[in-house]
Symmetry: C2
Subunit: 393 residues, 2 copies
Amino acid sequence: MTIAKKIDTMMSKSSWIRKMFEEGARLKAQHGDDQVFDFSLGNPNLPPPEKFGEILIETVTTCGPGDHCYMPNTGYPQVCRSIAEYLTNEQGVAIAEKEVLMTCGAAGGLNVILKALLDPGDEVITPSPFFVEYRFYADNHGGMLKTVATNPDFTLDLAAVADAITDKTKVVLINSPNNPTGQVYSDDSINQLGQLLKEKSHTFDRTIYLVSDEPYRKIIYDGIQVPSIFMAYRNSLIVTSYSKDISIPGERLGFVAVNPKAEFKSELIGALALTNRILGFVNAPALMQRVVACLQGESVDISQYAHKRALLCDGLAECGYEFIKPSGAFYLFPKAPTEDDVQFVKDLQQELILTVPGSGFGCPGHFRIAFCVNDQTIMNAMPGFKRAIKPYR
Amino acid sequence: MTIAKKIDTMMSKSSWIRKMFEEGARLKAQHGDDQVFDFSLGNPNLPPPEKFGEILIETVTTCGPGDHCYMPNTGYPQVCRSIAEYLTNEQGVAIAEKEVLMTCGAAGGLNVILKALLDPGDEVITPSPFFVEYRFYADNHGGMLKTVATNPDFTLDLAAVADAITDKTKVVLINSPNNPTGQVYSDDSINQLGQLLKEKSHTFDRTIYLVSDEPYRKIIYDGIQVPSIFMAYRNSLIVTSYSKDISIPGERLGFVAVNPKAEFKSELIGALALTNRILGFVNAPALMQRVVACLQGESVDISQYAHKRALLCDGLAECGYEFIKPSGAFYLFPKAPTEDDVQFVKDLQQELILTVPGSGFGCPGHFRIAFCVNDQTIMNAMPGFKRAIKPYR
């Protein structure tokens, strides 16, 4: 073998998920794309807001010759300023231009943060179920991902988080609204988490950072509010992207914001600029930076996702599926009717329904349905969902 | 200190370069941007080719709703195909769509390659002077950069490369046309290097990869040819970007191509797709992928760089500077008139001329002039260059 041993292991380990995707591709080739109900990917189906298209055309047609050049590794100052102003309102804390760093999506931003923070062997704690890529991101930079189960309703189990923190803990990484559960952590639980991290930082004489990955912040239902991270805990960072809320995941545009009250803030900001550079991101894509600067607060029509959520939840409840209704994002994470979630996902494939087993998110016995699909796909899949659960009832 | 110790060290180590840039910024603030002769950055000053603007507007105005979505981690198949066709002609070897992987620039591509290949402690050999970021890229993924001096005329010293290869060597990384010297390695030397790597791979029973970083391939002078890497050695990869040849460095668009004859090719391609994903790049920016697919073979007007090269070389020769005339790229790497290149760069700053000391490229006693600037900047800086060298003559 000529590739790195670790990468080789990762490839063979993830091969059962790959096999599932390959099976999906096989089914599509056999039956036709439109005959297969693909709920496997968080690839938003709603088009970007109309204003995105307008601003994009305007930006492109008014491009000057220097507009595709390098800019500071942290991004265009005017773009950071525009985001800082929006965030100030969102977080209830005054945020300055220099506290915002433009990144290649949230995935890029998370790598930039972890590279800047982790010493070898440092632990990153994340509530489970969790976005599976977190494990790779921590490992990329010499860290270890440590997962802590949430409560059965997927709310934060603060006692479990407290127990998990050690003198090796450098980061607590949360994702709310959550992928794969769609749960939004309450204001209370975020404040308690902040208090806990303050105490634990004191106990271990070591700054523990709260990193909040929130690309789904604007995709929320029933008038729920996503709490302010910066109000809850000073040593915190927000990382997010425009992938989901304005449906441009392929463009790789996001940002990191550093709490203006963070200790050693200027070292931290300097470190993020350095890691953005040396990891090879260099800077977030120039044109899209200038576009999103004009789209602060914009989002796709969330009521359409709310409608899809209703269609899916009502339909599955009627079939007898058990689940916690998501307060945000576009995922549902029902219990599989058997402990063997991989088997049940295969059963669904027999019905030409593609989903992802909970094992892929550190939570066996469940499966994830991404409902960022056409309403018709949801409705037409219902008979299949009904047939698949029948043998288990 | 709360940031990672290694990052903290990197920040303090690079601080003298940073201080130099800060000094440049201070000079600009004091004297006005146009009074300072800034040769410090490889930020191309020529505008992108006209066709770029046309294709960009056409691409944006014909965007469909799914055109900003995720695509395969390796890039749009039709974009990879278009590049593979162009490369087939350039390299003289038939290259298939699946052998091309779209990346966030060459910097992204290099990280993707090294993450895919390096086991802890593996060595990456590169001829010196070298692009300083290589050291970070190797270190990011547990590797060690090992530099090998080139000949005094900056051509490859193959005996030195042979001596440097050990049972830890996994990659030989070349950059031709070179940053900072502008030298282009000859067909002969590339073929000999290929032969050497074949022998050494056999000796150590271990595949040694040749990675060719070639963002300056199209920026060449005097009708010189850049040799085919794929013809010279089977276990090779090309990594490049559109940053320099069409002047869009801020857009972060490049690609990796795998030699169609490489051993374990499918594992290697799979590994690259995986590392592109888990490093957080996920995919190269969507819109620009589709734009560059229509710009294969395009470049800025190279004759303008040739003119700048002539202005600079003629002027500096007259002042008494010694240098090897660059065959490509837009850098000149003259000898400093003293061994203390940092001091001489400071002397030049007194003349409001900003350059980078050779120490920053592993080659003290030299300094780098990036001549991707206005002709006027070159001409107006000449009296300063003349005054700066005077005390040393």
